[in-house]
Protein backbone atom coordinates (compact mmCIF):
# COMPACT_ATOMS: atom_id res chain seq x y z
CA UNK A 1 0.00 0.00 0.00
CA UNK A 2 1.27 3.45 -0.95
CA UNK A 3 0.09 6.52 0.98
CA UNK A 4 0.73 10.17 0.17
CA UNK A 5 -0.13 12.58 2.95
CA UNK A 6 -0.14 16.27 1.99
CA UNK A 7 3.02 15.88 -0.08
CA UNK A 8 4.51 19.03 -1.60
CA UNK A 9 7.48 19.46 -3.91
CA UNK A 10 8.86 22.79 -5.08
CA UNK A 11 11.53 23.45 -7.68
CA UNK A 12 12.67 26.99 -6.87
CA UNK A 13 9.55 29.15 -6.87
CA UNK A 14 7.53 26.64 -8.88
CA UNK A 15 5.33 24.22 -6.97
CA UNK A 16 5.41 20.97 -8.94
CA UNK A 17 3.30 18.98 -6.46
CA UNK A 18 0.95 20.85 -4.17
CA UNK A 19 -0.20 19.14 -1.00
CA UNK A 20 -1.24 15.90 -2.65
CA UNK A 21 -2.83 13.10 -0.64
CA UNK A 22 -3.92 9.73 -1.98
CA UNK A 23 -3.71 6.02 -1.28
CA UNK A 24 -2.93 3.19 -3.67
CA UNK A 25 -4.23 -0.12 -2.36
CA UNK A 26 -2.23 -3.34 -2.38
CA UNK A 27 -2.48 -4.90 -5.85
CA UNK A 28 -4.18 -1.87 -7.39
CA UNK A 29 -3.36 -0.61 -10.90
CA UNK A 30 -3.34 3.17 -10.45
CA UNK A 31 -2.90 5.44 -13.44
CA UNK A 32 -1.67 9.02 -12.98
CA UNK A 33 -2.73 11.27 -15.83
CA UNK A 34 -2.56 14.96 -16.59
CA UNK A 35 -1.15 17.53 -18.99
CA UNK A 36 2.61 18.24 -19.22
CA UNK A 37 3.87 19.88 -16.06
CA UNK A 38 0.92 18.67 -14.00
CA UNK A 39 3.29 16.96 -11.56
CA UNK A 40 2.39 13.36 -12.39
CA UNK A 41 5.96 12.24 -13.10
CA UNK A 42 7.21 14.08 -10.03
CA UNK A 43 4.71 12.18 -7.89
CA UNK A 44 5.92 8.90 -9.39
CA UNK A 45 9.58 9.72 -8.85
CA UNK A 46 8.91 10.70 -5.25
CA UNK A 47 7.67 7.17 -4.53
CA UNK A 48 11.19 5.75 -5.02
CA UNK A 49 12.89 8.91 -3.73
CA UNK A 50 14.51 9.84 -7.03
CA UNK A 51 12.97 13.18 -6.07
CA UNK A 52 12.82 13.97 -2.35
CA UNK A 53 9.56 15.40 -1.02
CA UNK A 54 9.74 18.85 0.60
CA UNK A 55 6.72 18.46 2.84
CA UNK A 56 4.35 15.72 3.88
CA UNK A 57 4.86 12.00 4.28
CA UNK A 58 5.02 9.11 1.84
CA UNK A 59 4.50 5.66 3.32
CA UNK A 60 4.84 2.19 1.82
CA UNK A 61 3.03 -0.46 3.85
CA UNK A 62 2.89 2.02 6.72
CA UNK A 63 6.65 2.68 6.67
CA UNK A 64 7.83 6.25 6.00
CA UNK A 65 10.15 6.01 2.98
CA UNK A 66 12.32 8.82 4.40
CA UNK A 67 13.49 6.33 7.04
CA UNK A 68 14.76 3.84 4.43
CA UNK A 69 18.02 3.85 2.48
CA UNK A 70 17.11 5.06 -1.04
CA UNK A 71 18.96 2.20 -2.74
CA UNK A 72 17.21 -0.45 -0.66
CA UNK A 73 13.83 1.20 -1.23
CA UNK A 74 14.41 1.26 -5.00
CA UNK A 75 15.50 -2.37 -5.15
CA UNK A 76 12.11 -3.31 -3.73
CA UNK A 77 10.34 -1.47 -6.57
CA UNK A 78 10.39 -1.95 -10.31
CA UNK A 79 11.08 1.15 -12.38
CA UNK A 80 10.31 1.59 -16.09
CA UNK A 81 10.75 4.83 -18.03
CA UNK A 82 9.68 6.03 -21.46
CA UNK A 83 13.19 6.11 -22.90
CA UNK A 84 13.75 2.58 -21.52
CA UNK A 85 17.32 3.29 -20.35
CA UNK A 86 18.72 -0.19 -20.89
CA UNK A 87 22.45 -0.41 -20.20
CA UNK A 88 23.80 -0.48 -23.76
CA UNK A 89 27.04 -2.27 -22.84
CA UNK A 90 25.27 -5.17 -21.14
CA UNK A 91 23.46 -8.10 -22.70
CA UNK A 92 19.70 -8.52 -22.28
CA UNK A 93 20.40 -11.14 -19.62
CA UNK A 94 22.69 -8.89 -17.62
CA UNK A 95 20.25 -5.98 -17.92
CA UNK A 96 17.40 -8.07 -16.55
CA UNK A 97 19.67 -9.42 -13.82
CA UNK A 98 20.54 -5.92 -12.53
CA UNK A 99 18.45 -5.87 -9.35
CA UNK A 100 18.79 -9.58 -8.49
CA UNK A 101 22.54 -9.04 -8.89
CA UNK A 102 22.47 -6.05 -6.52
CA UNK A 103 20.49 -8.16 -4.06
CA UNK A 104 23.07 -10.94 -4.29
CA UNK A 105 20.87 -13.73 -5.63
CA UNK A 106 22.73 -16.94 -6.52
CA UNK A 107 23.70 -17.22 -10.20
CA UNK A 108 21.48 -20.21 -10.98
CA UNK A 109 18.42 -18.49 -9.54
CA UNK A 110 19.12 -15.34 -11.57
CA UNK A 111 19.51 -17.39 -14.74
CA UNK A 112 16.20 -19.19 -14.20
CA UNK A 113 14.47 -15.91 -13.41
CA UNK A 114 15.79 -14.31 -16.61
CA UNK A 115 14.47 -17.23 -18.65
CA UNK A 116 11.09 -17.01 -16.92
CA UNK A 117 10.84 -13.26 -17.53
CA UNK A 118 11.87 -13.43 -21.18
CA UNK A 119 9.14 -16.01 -21.71
CA UNK A 120 6.64 -13.88 -19.78
CA UNK A 121 7.39 -10.93 -22.09
CA UNK A 122 7.26 -13.11 -25.22
CA UNK A 123 10.95 -12.94 -26.06
CA UNK A 124 12.60 -16.23 -27.02
CA UNK A 125 15.30 -16.72 -24.34
CA UNK A 126 17.63 -18.62 -26.67
CA UNK A 127 17.55 -15.80 -29.18
CA UNK A 128 17.55 -12.73 -26.95
CA UNK A 129 19.40 -13.66 -23.75
CA UNK A 130 22.81 -12.80 -25.20
CA UNK A 131 21.69 -9.92 -27.44
CA UNK A 132 22.69 -6.31 -26.83
CA UNK A 133 20.03 -3.56 -26.58
CA UNK A 134 21.03 -1.93 -29.88
CA UNK A 135 20.18 -5.16 -31.67
CA UNK A 136 16.54 -4.97 -30.51
CA UNK A 137 13.55 -3.00 -31.82
CA UNK A 138 11.99 -0.31 -29.64
CA UNK A 139 9.18 -2.62 -28.57
CA UNK A 140 11.60 -5.42 -27.70
CA UNK A 141 13.75 -2.99 -25.72
CA UNK A 142 10.76 -1.94 -23.63
CA UNK A 143 9.83 -5.60 -23.08
CA UNK A 144 13.33 -6.05 -21.66
CA UNK A 145 12.82 -2.84 -19.65
CA UNK A 146 9.65 -4.28 -18.11
CA UNK A 147 11.35 -7.64 -17.49
CA UNK A 148 14.24 -5.85 -15.76
CA UNK A 149 11.79 -3.98 -13.53
CA UNK A 150 10.00 -7.20 -12.58
CA UNK A 151 13.18 -9.22 -12.05
CA UNK A 152 13.36 -9.17 -8.25
CA UNK A 153 9.60 -9.71 -7.85
CA UNK A 154 8.88 -6.20 -6.59
CA UNK A 155 5.65 -5.52 -4.70
CA UNK A 156 5.40 -2.15 -6.45
CA UNK A 157 6.00 -1.34 -10.11
CA UNK A 158 6.54 2.30 -11.10
CA UNK A 159 6.09 3.12 -14.78
CA UNK A 160 6.66 6.56 -16.31
CA UNK A 161 4.97 6.74 -19.73
CA UNK A 162 6.52 3.38 -20.59
CA UNK A 163 4.70 2.85 -23.89
CA UNK A 164 4.40 6.44 -25.16
CA UNK A 165 7.27 6.18 -27.63
CA UNK A 166 6.07 2.94 -29.24
CA UNK A 167 4.01 2.49 -32.39
CA UNK A 168 0.27 1.86 -31.80
CA UNK A 169 0.36 -1.87 -32.51
CA UNK A 170 3.34 -2.55 -30.25
CA UNK A 171 1.82 -0.30 -27.59
CA UNK A 172 -1.48 -2.20 -27.67
CA UNK A 173 0.20 -5.58 -27.32
CA UNK A 174 2.38 -4.39 -24.44
CA UNK A 175 -0.72 -2.94 -22.74
CA UNK A 176 -2.43 -6.31 -23.04
CA UNK A 177 0.61 -8.10 -21.65
CA UNK A 178 0.97 -5.65 -18.79
CA UNK A 179 -2.69 -6.20 -17.83
CA UNK A 180 -2.12 -9.94 -17.88
CA UNK A 181 1.05 -9.62 -15.77
CA UNK A 182 -0.82 -7.43 -13.30
CA UNK A 183 -3.63 -9.96 -12.98
CA UNK A 184 -1.20 -12.82 -12.58
CA UNK A 185 1.29 -11.28 -10.13
CA UNK A 186 -0.95 -8.92 -8.17
CA UNK A 187 1.83 -6.32 -8.20
CA UNK A 188 0.78 -2.81 -7.20
CA UNK A 189 1.34 -0.63 -10.27
CA UNK A 190 1.60 3.15 -10.48
CA UNK A 191 1.54 4.13 -14.14
CA UNK A 192 2.02 7.64 -15.52
CA UNK A 193 0.58 8.52 -18.92
CA UNK A 194 -0.84 11.47 -20.83
CA UNK A 195 -3.04 9.21 -22.94
CA UNK A 196 -6.58 8.87 -21.55
CA UNK A 197 -7.37 5.84 -23.71
CA UNK A 198 -4.41 4.06 -22.17
CA UNK A 199 -5.51 5.15 -18.70
CA UNK A 200 -9.08 3.92 -19.23
CA UNK A 201 -7.83 0.67 -20.64
CA UNK A 202 -5.29 -0.19 -17.95
CA UNK A 203 -6.29 1.47 -14.70
CA UNK A 204 -8.30 0.06 -11.83
CA UNK A 205 -8.40 3.70 -10.83
CA UNK A 206 -7.28 6.94 -12.43
CA UNK A 207 -5.85 9.97 -10.64
CA UNK A 208 -6.07 13.15 -12.71
CA UNK A 209 -3.53 15.84 -11.90
CA UNK A 210 -3.37 19.49 -12.92
CA UNK A 211 -0.96 22.20 -11.79
CA UNK A 212 0.45 19.97 -9.06
CA UNK A 213 -2.95 19.20 -7.57
CA UNK A 214 -5.03 16.07 -7.57
CA UNK A 215 -8.22 16.94 -9.47
CA UNK A 216 -10.04 13.63 -9.37
CA UNK A 217 -9.27 10.09 -8.33
CA UNK A 218 -11.86 7.56 -9.41
CA UNK A 219 -12.59 4.43 -11.42
CA UNK A 220 -12.47 4.66 -15.23
CA UNK A 221 -16.28 4.46 -15.32
CA UNK A 222 -16.61 7.31 -12.86
CA UNK A 223 -14.08 9.44 -14.76
CA UNK A 224 -16.07 8.91 -17.95
CA UNK A 225 -19.51 9.49 -16.55
CA UNK A 226 -18.82 12.03 -13.80
CA UNK A 227 -15.76 14.08 -14.71
CA UNK A 228 -14.97 16.35 -11.77
CA UNK A 229 -13.77 19.31 -13.82
CA UNK A 230 -13.66 20.66 -17.36
CA UNK A 231 -10.04 19.48 -17.56
CA UNK A 232 -11.05 15.88 -16.87
CA UNK A 233 -13.79 16.18 -19.47
CA UNK A 234 -11.27 17.53 -21.98
CA UNK A 235 -8.84 14.72 -21.24
CA UNK A 236 -11.58 12.17 -21.87
CA UNK A 237 -12.67 13.97 -25.02
CA UNK A 238 -16.09 13.89 -26.69
CA UNK A 239 -14.89 11.97 -29.70
CA UNK A 240 -16.00 8.32 -29.59
CA UNK A 241 -17.18 8.84 -26.02
CA UNK A 242 -19.67 6.02 -26.45
CA UNK A 243 -16.99 3.55 -27.44
CA UNK A 244 -14.78 4.61 -24.52
CA UNK A 245 -17.79 4.16 -22.27
CA UNK A 246 -18.26 0.63 -23.59
CA UNK A 247 -14.54 -0.14 -23.29
CA UNK A 248 -14.50 0.21 -19.50
CA UNK A 249 -17.05 -2.54 -18.96
CA UNK A 250 -16.92 -6.18 -19.97
CA UNK A 251 -19.31 -8.53 -21.69
CA UNK A 252 -19.79 -10.36 -18.40
CA UNK A 253 -21.16 -7.18 -16.78
CA UNK A 254 -24.08 -6.93 -19.18
CA UNK A 255 -24.87 -10.49 -20.31
CA UNK A 256 -28.36 -11.90 -19.57
CA UNK A 257 -27.39 -14.93 -17.55
CA UNK A 258 -30.44 -17.16 -18.02
CA UNK A 259 -30.51 -17.04 -21.81
CA UNK A 260 -28.60 -19.01 -24.38
CA UNK A 261 -28.03 -18.73 -28.10
CA UNK A 262 -25.86 -20.57 -30.64
CA UNK A 263 -22.72 -19.20 -32.27
CA UNK A 264 -19.05 -18.51 -31.61
CA UNK A 265 -19.02 -17.31 -27.97
CA UNK A 266 -17.23 -14.27 -26.52
CA UNK A 267 -15.20 -14.47 -23.30
CA UNK A 268 -16.83 -12.72 -20.34
CA UNK A 269 -13.82 -10.42 -19.87
CA UNK A 270 -14.04 -9.03 -23.44
CA UNK A 271 -14.56 -5.25 -23.32
CA UNK A 272 -17.99 -4.16 -24.56
CA UNK A 273 -16.67 -2.12 -27.50
CA UNK A 274 -15.17 -5.30 -28.92
CA UNK A 275 -18.50 -7.03 -28.50
CA UNK A 276 -20.19 -4.23 -30.43
CA UNK A 277 -17.60 -4.55 -33.17
CA UNK A 278 -18.19 -8.29 -33.24
CA UNK A 279 -21.96 -7.80 -33.59
CA UNK A 280 -21.44 -5.45 -36.53
CA UNK A 281 -18.97 -7.83 -38.13
CA UNK A 282 -21.32 -10.84 -37.76
CA UNK A 283 -24.50 -8.95 -38.52
CA UNK A 284 -26.18 -10.13 -35.33
CA UNK A 285 -27.77 -8.47 -32.29
CA UNK A 286 -27.14 -11.30 -29.86
CA UNK A 287 -23.90 -13.05 -28.90
CA UNK A 288 -23.34 -16.06 -26.61
CA UNK A 289 -20.98 -15.47 -23.68
CA UNK A 290 -18.71 -17.95 -21.88
CA UNK A 291 -16.88 -17.55 -18.57
CA UNK A 292 -13.17 -18.06 -17.92
CA UNK A 293 -13.58 -21.86 -17.84
CA UNK A 294 -15.45 -21.92 -21.16
CA UNK A 295 -18.89 -22.57 -19.57
CA UNK A 296 -21.92 -20.71 -21.01
CA UNK A 297 -22.49 -17.44 -19.14
CA UNK A 298 -25.55 -15.98 -20.90
CA UNK A 299 -26.30 -13.83 -23.90
CA UNK A 300 -25.33 -10.25 -24.71
CA UNK A 301 -28.00 -8.17 -26.47
CA UNK A 302 -27.31 -5.11 -28.63
CA UNK A 303 -29.96 -3.19 -26.71
CA UNK A 304 -28.08 -3.84 -23.46
CA UNK A 305 -25.04 -2.12 -24.91
CA UNK A 306 -27.05 1.03 -25.41
CA UNK A 307 -29.00 0.80 -22.13
CA UNK A 308 -27.61 -1.25 -19.28
CA UNK A 309 -30.20 -3.45 -17.61
CA UNK A 310 -29.48 -1.93 -14.19
CA UNK A 311 -27.96 1.30 -12.84
CA UNK A 312 -29.17 3.29 -15.82
CA UNK A 313 -27.78 6.57 -14.50
CA UNK A 314 -24.23 5.33 -14.97
CA UNK A 315 -24.60 5.31 -18.74
CA UNK A 316 -25.57 8.94 -19.09
CA UNK A 317 -23.74 10.74 -21.86
CA UNK A 318 -20.93 13.23 -21.57
CA UNK A 319 -23.26 16.21 -21.83
CA UNK A 320 -25.45 15.03 -18.97
CA UNK A 321 -22.96 15.75 -16.23
CA UNK A 322 -22.14 19.37 -16.74
CA UNK A 323 -21.65 22.30 -19.03
CA UNK A 324 -20.45 20.52 -22.17
Amino acid sequence: MIEFERVTKRFGSWTAVDSVSFTVAEGEFRVLIGPSGSGKSTVLRMINRLIPADEGAIRIDGEDIASLKPEELRRRMGYVIQSVGLFPHWTVERNIATVPGLLGWPKARIRDRVTELLELLNLDPRRYRGAYPHQLSGGQQQRVGVARALAAEPRVLLMDEPFSALDPITRASLQTELSAIHRRTGTTIVFVTHDMDEALRLGDSIAVMDHGRLVQCATPLEILTHPASPLVRDLVGREEWGLKRLAVETVGDRARRQESVTGEPLAAETPLHRALSEMVARGTERLPVVDGDGRPAGVLHLSDLVRPASGGAASSGPAASGTA
Binding site: N48, L50, P70, E71, E72, L73, R74, R75, Y79, I81, S83, V84, G85, L86, F87, P88, H89, W90, T98, V99, L102, Y132, H134, Q135, G145, R148, A149, L158
Partner: protein, 252 residues
Protein backbone atom coordinates in the same frame (compact mmCIF):
# COMPACT_ATOMS: atom_id res chain seq x y z
CA UNK B 1 43.28 -11.60 -32.03
CA UNK B 2 46.75 -12.92 -31.25
CA UNK B 3 49.82 -12.95 -33.43
CA UNK B 4 49.90 -16.73 -33.44
CA UNK B 5 46.43 -16.98 -34.92
CA UNK B 6 46.98 -14.53 -37.75
CA UNK B 7 47.27 -15.33 -41.42
CA UNK B 8 50.44 -14.03 -43.12
CA UNK B 9 48.42 -11.44 -45.03
CA UNK B 10 46.96 -10.05 -41.80
CA UNK B 11 50.44 -9.92 -40.30
CA UNK B 12 51.56 -7.69 -43.15
CA UNK B 13 48.58 -5.35 -42.95
CA UNK B 14 48.31 -5.13 -39.15
CA UNK B 15 49.61 -1.74 -37.99
CA UNK B 16 50.44 -2.94 -34.52
CA UNK B 17 52.49 -5.92 -35.71
CA UNK B 18 54.27 -3.94 -38.41
CA UNK B 19 55.03 -1.11 -36.02
CA UNK B 20 56.37 -3.51 -33.38
CA UNK B 21 58.60 -5.26 -35.92
CA UNK B 22 59.91 -1.90 -37.18
CA UNK B 23 60.50 -0.60 -33.64
CA UNK B 24 62.38 -3.69 -32.44
CA UNK B 25 64.40 -3.81 -35.65
CA UNK B 26 65.37 -0.14 -35.37
CA UNK B 27 66.24 -0.27 -31.67
CA UNK B 28 68.30 -3.47 -31.87
CA UNK B 29 69.61 -3.08 -35.40
CA UNK B 30 70.62 0.60 -35.43
CA UNK B 31 74.35 -0.20 -34.87
CA UNK B 32 74.36 -2.41 -37.96
CA UNK B 33 73.06 0.55 -40.01
CA UNK B 34 76.33 2.38 -39.33
CA UNK B 35 77.73 1.70 -42.86
CA UNK B 36 74.50 3.06 -44.36
CA UNK B 37 74.71 6.32 -42.37
CA UNK B 38 78.44 6.53 -43.22
CA UNK B 39 77.52 6.38 -46.92
CA UNK B 40 74.67 8.89 -46.57
CA UNK B 41 76.72 11.39 -44.52
CA UNK B 42 80.32 10.92 -45.76
CA UNK B 43 81.54 14.12 -44.10
CA UNK B 44 80.61 13.03 -40.55
CA UNK B 45 83.37 11.54 -38.37
CA UNK B 46 80.85 9.63 -36.25
CA UNK B 47 77.84 8.60 -38.34
CA UNK B 48 76.25 6.58 -35.47
CA UNK B 49 75.23 7.77 -32.01
CA UNK B 50 77.12 5.52 -29.63
CA UNK B 51 77.27 7.40 -26.31
CA UNK B 52 74.29 5.41 -25.06
CA UNK B 53 72.69 2.26 -26.42
CA UNK B 54 69.41 2.81 -28.23
CA UNK B 55 67.90 0.03 -26.12
CA UNK B 56 68.47 1.90 -22.87
CA UNK B 57 67.41 5.24 -24.42
CA UNK B 58 64.18 3.67 -25.65
CA UNK B 59 63.43 2.05 -22.29
CA UNK B 60 64.07 5.32 -20.44
CA UNK B 61 61.95 7.22 -22.95
CA UNK B 62 59.08 4.75 -22.48
CA UNK B 63 59.43 4.91 -18.70
CA UNK B 64 59.21 8.71 -18.73
CA UNK B 65 56.17 8.68 -21.03
CA UNK B 66 54.58 5.87 -19.05
CA UNK B 67 55.02 7.48 -15.66
CA UNK B 68 53.92 10.95 -16.73
CA UNK B 69 50.90 9.52 -18.58
CA UNK B 70 49.94 7.39 -15.60
CA UNK B 71 50.14 10.44 -13.34
CA UNK B 72 48.05 12.46 -15.80
CA UNK B 73 45.45 9.69 -16.04
CA UNK B 74 45.15 9.38 -12.25
CA UNK B 75 45.10 13.14 -11.64
CA UNK B 76 43.11 14.16 -14.72
CA UNK B 77 40.71 11.21 -14.61
CA UNK B 78 40.15 11.65 -10.88
CA UNK B 79 39.55 15.37 -11.26
CA UNK B 80 37.26 14.79 -14.27
CA UNK B 81 35.20 12.33 -12.25
CA UNK B 82 35.12 14.67 -9.24
CA UNK B 83 33.74 17.67 -11.16
CA UNK B 84 30.94 15.58 -12.68
CA UNK B 85 29.71 14.46 -9.22
CA UNK B 86 27.04 16.58 -7.53
CA UNK B 87 29.50 17.65 -4.80
CA UNK B 88 32.24 18.72 -7.22
CA UNK B 89 30.24 20.45 -9.92
CA UNK B 90 31.24 23.95 -8.78
CA UNK B 91 34.91 23.25 -9.48
CA UNK B 92 34.37 22.28 -13.08
CA UNK B 93 35.20 25.72 -14.53
CA UNK B 94 38.30 26.04 -12.38
CA UNK B 95 39.58 22.60 -13.39
CA UNK B 96 39.07 23.24 -17.08
CA UNK B 97 40.94 26.55 -16.82
CA UNK B 98 43.88 24.96 -15.00
CA UNK B 99 44.08 22.10 -17.51
CA UNK B 100 43.96 24.49 -20.46
CA UNK B 101 46.74 26.57 -18.94
CA UNK B 102 48.76 23.39 -18.45
CA UNK B 103 48.60 22.78 -22.13
CA UNK B 104 49.04 26.29 -23.50
CA UNK B 105 52.19 26.65 -21.41
CA UNK B 106 55.04 25.57 -23.71
CA UNK B 107 56.71 22.45 -22.30
CA UNK B 108 60.13 24.05 -22.75
CA UNK B 109 59.06 26.87 -20.45
CA UNK B 110 57.85 24.39 -17.82
CA UNK B 111 61.17 22.61 -18.08
CA UNK B 112 63.09 25.86 -17.74
CA UNK B 113 61.08 26.84 -14.68
CA UNK B 114 61.32 23.42 -13.07
CA UNK B 115 65.09 23.10 -13.37
CA UNK B 116 66.03 25.82 -10.82
CA UNK B 117 63.67 24.19 -8.32
CA UNK B 118 64.31 20.53 -8.96
CA UNK B 119 67.68 20.47 -10.68
CA UNK B 120 68.56 18.69 -13.91
CA UNK B 121 67.31 15.22 -14.65
CA UNK B 122 64.11 13.27 -15.13
CA UNK B 123 62.01 14.92 -12.38
CA UNK B 124 61.36 18.30 -14.05
CA UNK B 125 60.64 16.40 -17.25
CA UNK B 126 58.12 14.23 -15.43
CA UNK B 127 56.32 17.31 -14.09
CA UNK B 128 56.26 19.07 -17.45
CA UNK B 129 54.96 16.00 -19.29
CA UNK B 130 52.31 15.29 -16.66
CA UNK B 131 50.99 18.85 -16.86
CA UNK B 132 51.05 18.67 -20.61
CA UNK B 133 49.06 15.42 -20.73
CA UNK B 134 46.48 16.64 -18.24
CA UNK B 135 44.21 18.63 -20.57
CA UNK B 136 43.20 15.92 -23.04
CA UNK B 137 42.59 13.48 -20.17
CA UNK B 138 40.48 15.96 -18.17
CA UNK B 139 38.55 17.18 -21.20
CA UNK B 140 37.70 13.72 -22.44
CA UNK B 141 36.86 12.35 -19.00
CA UNK B 142 34.35 15.16 -18.50
CA UNK B 143 33.00 14.87 -22.07
CA UNK B 144 32.73 11.09 -21.81
CA UNK B 145 30.85 11.20 -18.51
CA UNK B 146 28.62 14.01 -19.80
CA UNK B 147 27.80 11.85 -22.80
CA UNK B 148 26.25 9.01 -20.80
CA UNK B 149 22.52 9.15 -21.70
CA UNK B 150 20.35 10.66 -18.96
CA UNK B 151 17.84 7.82 -19.32
CA UNK B 152 20.54 5.24 -18.58
CA UNK B 153 21.56 7.11 -15.44
CA UNK B 154 17.93 7.54 -14.40
CA UNK B 155 17.24 3.84 -14.70
CA UNK B 156 20.51 2.90 -12.97
CA UNK B 157 19.57 5.02 -9.96
CA UNK B 158 15.92 4.01 -10.15
CA UNK B 159 16.85 0.33 -10.00
CA UNK B 160 18.78 0.92 -6.80
CA UNK B 161 22.43 1.26 -7.81
CA UNK B 162 24.45 3.33 -5.35
CA UNK B 163 26.71 6.19 -6.53
CA UNK B 164 29.79 3.92 -6.75
CA UNK B 165 27.94 1.24 -8.73
CA UNK B 166 26.54 3.87 -11.10
CA UNK B 167 30.06 5.26 -11.66
CA UNK B 168 32.00 2.02 -12.05
CA UNK B 169 29.42 -0.24 -13.67
CA UNK B 170 27.59 2.22 -15.90
CA UNK B 171 29.25 5.62 -16.35
CA UNK B 172 32.91 4.68 -16.72
CA UNK B 173 32.32 1.70 -19.05
CA UNK B 174 30.11 3.86 -21.28
CA UNK B 175 32.50 6.83 -21.17
CA UNK B 176 35.55 4.60 -21.67
CA UNK B 177 35.92 5.06 -25.46
CA UNK B 178 35.93 8.85 -25.12
CA UNK B 179 38.23 8.81 -22.09
CA UNK B 180 40.55 6.43 -23.89
CA UNK B 181 40.70 8.78 -26.89
CA UNK B 182 41.89 11.53 -24.53
CA UNK B 183 44.52 9.26 -22.98
CA UNK B 184 45.65 8.28 -26.46
CA UNK B 185 46.13 11.92 -27.47
CA UNK B 186 48.00 12.63 -24.24
CA UNK B 187 50.35 9.67 -24.61
CA UNK B 188 51.12 10.33 -28.28
CA UNK B 189 51.86 13.99 -27.53
CA UNK B 190 54.11 12.88 -24.68
CA UNK B 191 56.07 10.45 -26.84
CA UNK B 192 57.10 13.45 -28.93
CA UNK B 193 57.43 15.95 -26.10
CA UNK B 194 59.55 13.60 -23.99
CA UNK B 195 62.30 14.02 -26.59
CA UNK B 196 62.54 17.71 -25.66
CA UNK B 197 63.06 16.69 -22.03
CA UNK B 198 66.62 15.75 -22.92
CA UNK B 199 67.41 19.47 -22.88
CA UNK B 200 67.22 19.33 -19.08
CA UNK B 201 69.21 16.16 -18.80
CA UNK B 202 66.54 13.48 -18.86
CA UNK B 203 67.83 10.47 -20.73
CA UNK B 204 65.41 9.91 -23.65
CA UNK B 205 65.44 9.32 -27.36
CA UNK B 206 65.71 13.11 -27.62
CA UNK B 207 69.37 12.88 -26.57
CA UNK B 208 70.76 11.90 -30.00
CA UNK B 209 68.47 14.49 -31.59
CA UNK B 210 69.67 17.33 -29.37
CA UNK B 211 73.32 16.28 -29.53
CA UNK B 212 72.91 16.00 -33.30
CA UNK B 213 71.34 19.46 -33.59
CA UNK B 214 74.08 21.03 -31.45
CA UNK B 215 76.87 19.33 -33.37
CA UNK B 216 75.33 19.56 -36.87
CA UNK B 217 75.17 15.76 -36.98
CA UNK B 218 72.10 15.00 -39.07
CA UNK B 219 72.66 11.25 -38.75
CA UNK B 220 72.12 11.43 -34.96
CA UNK B 221 68.93 13.44 -35.48
CA UNK B 222 67.58 10.89 -37.96
CA UNK B 223 68.42 7.94 -35.71
CA UNK B 224 66.62 9.41 -32.70
CA UNK B 225 63.65 10.63 -34.73
CA UNK B 226 63.13 7.29 -36.50
CA UNK B 227 62.78 5.42 -33.23
CA UNK B 228 60.52 8.07 -31.70
CA UNK B 229 58.27 7.81 -34.77
CA UNK B 230 58.19 4.01 -34.64
CA UNK B 231 57.36 4.15 -30.93
CA UNK B 232 54.47 6.55 -31.63
CA UNK B 233 53.09 4.26 -34.34
CA UNK B 234 53.19 1.23 -32.03
CA UNK B 235 51.47 3.06 -29.18
CA UNK B 236 48.83 4.52 -31.48
CA UNK B 237 48.07 1.12 -32.98
CA UNK B 238 47.96 -0.38 -29.50
CA UNK B 239 45.32 2.16 -28.48
CA UNK B 240 43.36 1.33 -31.60
CA UNK B 241 43.25 -2.29 -30.52
CA UNK B 242 42.26 -1.36 -26.97
CA UNK B 243 39.47 0.95 -28.21
CA UNK B 244 38.04 -1.86 -30.34
CA UNK B 245 38.10 -4.19 -27.35
CA UNK B 246 36.36 -1.64 -25.09
CA UNK B 247 33.49 -1.12 -27.54
CA UNK B 248 33.18 -4.74 -28.70
CA UNK B 249 29.57 -4.82 -27.43
CA UNK B 250 28.56 -2.14 -29.96
CA UNK B 251 29.97 -4.04 -32.92
CA UNK B 252 27.76 -7.11 -32.70
Amino acid sequence: MTGAGMAPRELLTDRLMLGLVALVALVLGMPSLKPLFATLFPRLDRPLYEAESFVSLTLDHMALVGLSSLAAILLGGGAGIAVTRPWGREFRGLLETVATMGQTFPPVAVLALAVPVMGFGAEPALIALTLYALLPVVENTVAGLDGVPAAVLDSARGLGMGPAAVLFRVELPLAAPVILAGIRTAVIINVGTAAIASTVGAKTLGLPIIVGLNGSNQAYVIQGALIVAALAVVIDAGFDRLAGWLTRWSQR
